[in-house]
């Protein structure tokens, strides 16, 4: 357990430095193309964070959607707008922007460190870990027994605890709303990208 903790800490610090460094690069580098590549670095580091936080499905989704689709869209946009030479210039709001984001950072850090978080009790940790890491596949009876889930009722609940079950169960309304939003975005994107003059 101790060795595992050390490995987790090392991975966490490496990912943090990578994510923050790449994010700083995105906002400071002049060349927009390099900024996009650094942005892909931020996305990959974030996928690493998700694996570390036992959200494997989100990590896969992150790589597919962010690294695979959104970065490519950005590269397309940069190529199509063609003034890469002009680059990523700062505007006149430098000092207010730095001040505002530093103040917000300070407030967030104070809140994060001073709040009494209602942490997951040690007894429930293995069950929560099991549900989070196995959020896509079906749980086997052996895995459930190992995690200390023995009663029939708890077993039935844990077997139903998957992302898909939640999306078509308690979260079905936001799920449908998001699908309508995606359809609207699709139609809107088509309408925007169509050259003007042709109805």
């Amino acid at each position: 357990m101790l060795f595992q903790d050390i490995v987790q800490d090392v991975v966490f610090w490496v990912l943090s430095v990578a994510a923050i460094g790449a994010a700083l690069g995105v906002v400071l580098v002049r060349d927009l193309f390099r900024a996009v590549l650094l942005l892909a670095g931020v996305f990959i580091a974030m996928a690493g964070f998700f694996v570390l936080l036992s959200a494997e499905f989100l990590a896969v989704v992150q790589v597919l959607i962010y690294v695979g689709a959104i970065s490519i869209l950005f590269i397309f946009a940069i190529m199509l707008t063609r003034n890469v030479r002009q680059g990523n210039l700062p505007n006149r709001l430098q000092i207010p922007a730095v001040l505002f984001s530093t103040l917000l950072l300070a407030a967030l850090v104070v809140v994060a460190t001073s709040t009494e978080w209602n942490l997951i009790p040690d007894g429930a940790k293995t069950g929560v870990d099991l549900v989070q890491t196995q959020s896509v596949n079906v749980l086997s009876p052996e895995a459930l027994k190992q995690a200390g889930v023995v009663s029939d009722e708890a077993k039935a609940q844990a077997e139903k605890a998957g992302l898909a079950d939640l999306l078509i169960g308690p979260f079905v309304l936001p799920f449908e709303a998001v699908s309508v939003l995606l359809l609207a975005a699709l139609i809107g994107g088509l309408a925007l990208a169509r050259p003007p003059g042709r109805a």
Partner: protein, 109 residues
């Protein structure tokens, strides 16, 4: 790796994204900074799902996944947002031959 460390990392990422959104003049750079902010929020959601007990965890273990479901919705909305945002950027470039935000003043007069 503690909850506080994770929250501080995501707060730093959010502040960097906010700075980029406010202080860059290129529209595409602003959109990239927005994406950094989306990712910082996702990191917060997943970290809280991992460490903080949600309401009703004792009754149903499935409540431990709520944070991940929220992050999933954020990713979906971010994808829709970026598709539209880049479409608007291309329309702006077509009309004004520029992607500079300080020159996007057509609505002013």
């Amino acid at each position: 790796m503690s909850l506080e460390a994770l929250l501080i990392v995501s707060a730093i990422l959010f502040a960097i994204g906010l700075y980029g959104t406010l202080a860059r003049s290129n529209v595409i750079a602003v959109l990239m900074s927005l994406e950094i902010m989306f990712n910082a929020v996702n990191l917060t959601l997943v970290a809280l799902a991992k460490f903080v007990a949600p309401q009703g965890l004792q009754d149903n273990l499935a409540n431990a996944l709520t944070g991940q479901v929220f992050a999933l919705f954020v990713i979906t909305v971010a994808a829709a947002e970026i598709a539209l945002g880049l479409g608007i950027v291309l329309a702006m470039y077509r009309n004004t031959e520029s992607v500079d935000l300080s020159q996007a003043t057509q609505l002013r007069n």
